[in-house]
Symmetry: C2
Subunit: 308 residues, 2 copies
């Protein structure tokens, strides 16, 4: 028994276990013990568009002309009949909460709006400041780009970015070549071209070679709220004599790494977790994992695509 | 108002709506109104490995030396301590139920065993006759192959099979080039090579070009029970001068179709539903859908990968 305990302590955690753990972390909202049972549905115009944690419900109850917090849900007042009215009323409340310094996430106020709707394809019901979306658990959408190149021998290598130390989130961590949120009134294709240029100086003629291949979808929670997110995944094969360059300063360096190294590093604490999912999706689609040798093959695929 | 009602009645159902409906049908076990709340967990050696519908629980209660049906679950007797003992005991019960003609699905008895385990990578707990698995809602795994070829102009065309009229399930419907269940003591790679040869006369040297790219995972129910299934998806690019041929008679014809035609037909009643999912996964991975123009892009990806 002592022997087996020693063995267990010594046995290194496998790549597969680390990959599964990564996906569990990003789907923490669905794990037993999460705040999910305590969260209230956030309802706008009869549709659930998010989840509000209890501590936020308490604060919103003070603004009864905007939020109705009785009956186990947080409902935006039906008297706010239009997109513009809803957006303005919520904005007023959020600026007040920010002024009162009620929530840490509002210190990261960006003056950047995200659309709120039940499904990405629905007509938006209102626009909400980006830094506040986790207080309401509203879905956020982004674009992530796997940048890769094909060597003369056919082997793929991947461009990996290292985030600037001045980024408010995940400073210094590894990331996809390009990634960004889909803001109000912007298409996914526009977001892709804009972020390619801003973050990595990739000209439009190359950015347009990016091909849509998947989404990764997941919901996690932390002390700043609930994060249901879906990233539209693109593969962008860049010419082998092309290199991304530091653009707006969100990235401090780009590395061109063989897939073995990328596979190893994606399960390390060095990689931004949701971006690591995008790389994992790439590994699966490009046959770097085989179901006879990857024990959690099915679980990994499913863990990348949870309903929001 | 009369005008808008007329308009609604006349508006054709879009491809996107049909695709979403396809995925809903294959995940019917998770829809409101399904039998899920009435099903009992099927527990073997302390682990849930399936879902037993109420009508099956009733029958199993007669075999109390094999199944313990108290307390809201169906538990295989812990006195059956080994894989061999469990397999034999369950087989005896199933042959009895078959003789008594209790369940229609057992008329399709195949003398083909599937492994039962909580996860595909776990050590199997017992083996169960294939035609009985839906009575216990045990997970089934299969291999599906997207066979395609690249024309001189770079366009892809896909090989689609038409199932034989003598098949017990989905006779005459369209299907993937090759597909088959993963039986006991067979690897996924072995299943792939075997089915390629048997169903489509594809020699091993070509079958081995198949690349693992994904899974599709879903759970549906019908009057024969509960079907949690996961298919390991492979893409197989065959040379453009190669054509699959009818093998063991499970297929009556092979067609080589442009992707536009394949896309259209996959949402029709002509396509075997779970095989249509495999084609949909191909369309997504090969950029035949774009998130700016496919309104349910995120929902389609998620619907292909539900946890079992």
């Amino acid at each position: 028994l002592a022997g087996s305990a020693t063995q267990m302590a010594a046995s290194p955690v496998s790549w597969s276990d680390k990959a599964l753990r990564l996906l569990r972390g990003l789907n923490s909202f669905y794990l037993p013990g999460s705040s999910r049972a305590q969260c209230c549905p956030f309802v706008v115009s009869g549709q659930q568009v998010g989840w509000v944690p209890p501590v936020v419900v308490q604060e919103l109850a003070r603004f009864s002309e905007v939020f109705q917090t009785q009956g186990g849900s947080v409902e935006l007042s039906p008297s706010l009949g239009s997109y513009a009215e809803r957006s303005a009323a919520v904005d007023t409340v959020l600026r007040c909460l920010r002024e009162e310094n009620r929530f840490r996430c509002l210190r990261g106020w960006r003056e950047e709006k995200y659309e709120v709707m039940a499904r990405c394809c629905d007509q938006p019901l209102l626009a909400m400041e980006r830094s506040a979306t986790s207080l309401f658990g509203v879905k956020r959408y982004g674009v992530h780009v796997n940048g890769f190149t094909r060597q003369a021998d056919g082997q793929l290598t991947m461009w990996v970015a290292r985030r600037s130390l001045s980024k408010p989130t995940y400073p210094g961590l590894l990331d996809n070549m390009v990634a960004g949120g889909v803001a109000c009134r912007t298409t996914i294709a526009e977001t892709l071209v804009k972020e390619c240029m801003e973050e990595a100086c990739i000209p439009e003629c190359i950015a347009k070679l990016a091909r849509p291949v998947s989404t990764v979808s997941y919901t996690y929670e932390d002390d700043e709220g609930v994060f249901p997110e879906s990233q539209f995944v693109f593969d962008l094969e860049v010419p082998h004599d092309f290199a991304p360059e530091i653009g707006d300063g969100e990235v401090q360096a780009f590395y061109l790494w063989p897939m073995d190294k990328v596979k190893e590093v994606l399960v390390s604490a060095e990689f931004k977790p949701n971006s690591a999912m995008v790389v994992l999706d790439f590994l699966l689609r490009h046959s770097y994992l085989h179901p006879d040798t990857e024990p959690y093959y099915q679980e990994l695929v499913v863990g990348l695509h949870r309903p929001l």
